[in-house]
């Protein structure tokens, strides 16, 4: 009986329904948005602290004992992800205040955001595979609504692809859940971890594992299933893009981490080898796609794909150090990637375009914004002493230890190409002078932007940049948490004991 496990799900639900009840008043919705996400952040921090000090926390919903009822489980990985969801929700809620237009607000921006956060937190905290499917659907429906907010042509075209492929992946997940139930007669993850190795036909288990791999591969935008992401992520308002970039694909990555450590670690030679190939190609295709583009949000979208590769690499190598590196990398990536989208948004509000060819000169008028861009950008490329360096260092070192030279080479080269993309944005948007042809529009946008709006948009950027610097300079505590989380992933007996009450 640990009520704090359910709070990160309940709070966004209450906030979301309250903002629907008050949907006529944008001001009320804004207040509910900031307070609700703030409460979510606080509750998730409490959850992480309690999980850290007391071990895996379990709550049996409706007092139905595991493995029959639905359980919510908070192990360290789940708690860390929930904290990240809280941070993202709060940062984006503050950023939305000036950047989301009144039209979008009346169209349900805030209720959908809360619903999305509830779905994301539910997916991170559930200990039941069918319940995971339900939460994934909750967050998908919310993300559909957010994606088409505004209803422009590009959004509709992107949404058709996004909706189709994500529904397809959900059905794969559902089919996998059904087949798993048919094989084992249980849906509880801890119970499955005990029963799956006892299934006679282990080939069938691997087949089901592949269904989950395809499903979560689509959700996390891994090669060769990533095409929907660059086609849709740059279309909605930038606050939505930032939220998606930070959280949505990471639900897929989280599920991969959960399933391929707890449930499907029986045939590591096959499944994790496949994951390794996926990781390598994901990194390369993502970064090459980014190199070819000149629109800030598209470049950043392709970099999401490329960075997903690093996270999957940590899972695929499947050594303690690799998993630590992977968890560390997820923490770093969510903060940094969302922050880059937020900075790109500010540049848009100052210059009126996301096209690098049409913007410029931000450094000359607002040098501090340039510095704020450099922190996450250099961190993404892995420049020490920022957060990305330590994540990459651990992953590459783990690759060297198991002598997997191919993936090490790919990781290093992709790091360099990432630097190239970031420098491209820096040089074009910040350093070069504003092009003459679009100078008029840029001046108009800059004049129309009130100072208070700039402050509200920059505050979350400063906060996220500060976290990036903190993760880099004070890597030790984050490393300690990631270390403990990876230990729980590798040895699932704590998790199983907490849920089922018996040690396997």
């Amino acid at each position: 009986m640990n009520p704090e496990v359910a709070l990160p799900i309940l709070i966004p639900f209450v906030a979301g329904s309250l903002s629907l009840v008050f949907f006529r008043s944008n001001a009320a919705q804004r207040w509910i948005g900031v307070i609700g996400t703030g409460a979510l952040l606080v509750s998730s921090l409490v959850l992480l602290y309690n999980t850290w000090s007391h071990g895996v926390l379990v709550m049996e919903m409706g007092n139905w004992p595991a493995p029959f009822g639905i359980v919510l489980v908070s192990d360290l990985l789940g708690a860390i992800m929930t904290v990240l969801a809280g941070i993202m929700g709060f940062a984006v809620a503050v950023y939305s205040l000036p950047s989301i237009s009144a039209d979008h607000e009346t169209f349900g921006y805030y209720p959908l955001t809360h619903l999305l956060l509830a779905g994301v937190c539910g997916a991170f905290l559930t200990g039941d595979i069918f319940n995971l499917y339900v939460w994934v659907e909750v967050l998908l429906i919310a993300s559909f609504g957010l994606l088409i907010l505004g209803g422009e042509r590009g959004q509709m075209e992107g949404a058709v692809k996004y909706v189709t492929l994500n529904l397809f992946s959900s059905i794969m997940l559902l089919a996998g859940v059904g087949l798993t139930y048919g094989m084992t007669g249980t849906l509880n993850m801890a119970d499955l971890a005990v029963k799956l190795p006892e299934v006679e036909n282990q080939g069938l288990v691997t087949v089901v594992a592949m269904l989950f791999l395809v499903s979560f591969g689509i959700k996390s935008a891994a090669f060769p299933l990533f095409f929907w992401l660059p086609a849709s992520y740059h279309t909605p308002p930038v606050a939505v893009s930032a939220l998606f970039a930070g959280l949505l694909t990471k639900v897929g990555v989280y599920a991969l981490y959960r399933f391929f450590t707890l449930l499907f670690s029986h045939d590591v030679g096959y499944t994790h080898e496949l994951l390794l190939w996926m990781a390598g190609f994901t990194m390369i295709t993502g970064v090459l796609g980014a190199a070819a583009h000149y629109e800030m949000r598209r470049i950043l979208s392709f970099h999401i794909v490329s960075q997903i590769g690093y996270m999957i690499m940590g899972l695929a190598l499947y050594t303690p150090l690799a998993l630590i590196g992977g968890v560390f990398y997820i923490v770093h990536h969510i903060i940094v990637k969302a922050n880059l989208f937020l900075v790109a948004g500010v540049v848009y509000f100052l210059r009126g375009s996301y096209e690098l060819k049409e913007v410029g000169g931000v450094w000359h008028t607002r040098p501090w914004l340039g510095l704020l861009f450099l922190v996450p950008a250099m961190s993404l490329a892995g420049i020490p002493p920022l957060s990305g360096f330590f994540g990459k260092y651990m992953l590459i070192r783990a690759g060297v230890e198991v002598e997997s030279w191919g993936i090490v080479l790919v990781a290093l080269v992709v790091g360099l190409l990432t630097l190239f993309s970031m420098v491209k944005i820096w040089a074009e948007a910040f350093w070069k002078a504003q092009p003459e042809e679009t100078g008029e529009r840029a001046r108009r946008f800059e004049a129309a932007l009130p100072q208070s709006a700039v402050v509200l948009m920059v505050l979350p950027i400063i906060g996220l940049a500060a976290i990036t610097v903190f993760i880099g300079l004070g890597a030790q505590p984050i490393y300690a948490i990631a270390n403990a989380a990876a230990a729980q992933l590798l040895d699932s007996s704590d998790y199983i004991e907490a849920v089922l009450g018996v040690r396997p």
């Binding site: 069918f130 590009g154 509709m156 075209e157 992107g158 559902l174 048919g182 086609a231 849709s232």
Partner: protein, 115 residues
């Protein structure tokens, strides 16, 4: 019975993939409908088909007499149907709006965000 159901599920999946690969938006949605039905039938089939044995416990006993059908898959399917209903309602609104904005029913004309 299982083999008949397996063929039906396979045919539904095949039909839905075929429909989703067509260029028309409406056929895409039909494909999605078939897909969710196929998955529901799959769950129904793999969890074991049992005839005429409701999981009801007679008065004064602890277990149903002589075996029982598993009620859980039906609960799962019911949940999946409800979710599918919501998602499809959204998909219908989406293709309508997409058709209005783009003015085309043809997916090949919806490429501006891919480049």
């Amino acid at each position: 019975m299982e083999s008949v159901m397996a063929v039906v599920v396979g045919a539904l999946f095949a039909a839905s993939v075929y429909m989703m690969l067509r260029r028309s938006l409406v056929k895409l949605v039909i494909g999605l409908i078939l897909l969710s039905n196929a998955a529901n039938l799959l769950i129904f089939t793999v969890s074991g088909l049992t005839r005429g044995k409701p999981p009801l416990i007679p008065e004064g006993m602890d277990l149903p007499a002589g075996g029982w059908a598993d009620p859980l898959p039906q609960a799962l399917i019911l949940t999946a149907i409800v979710i599918g209903f919501g998602v499809l309602a959204f998909a219908v609104v989406l293709i309508r709006r997409a058709y209005e904005v783009v003015g085309e029913d043809d997916l090949d004309k919806m490429r501006s965000t891919d480049l």
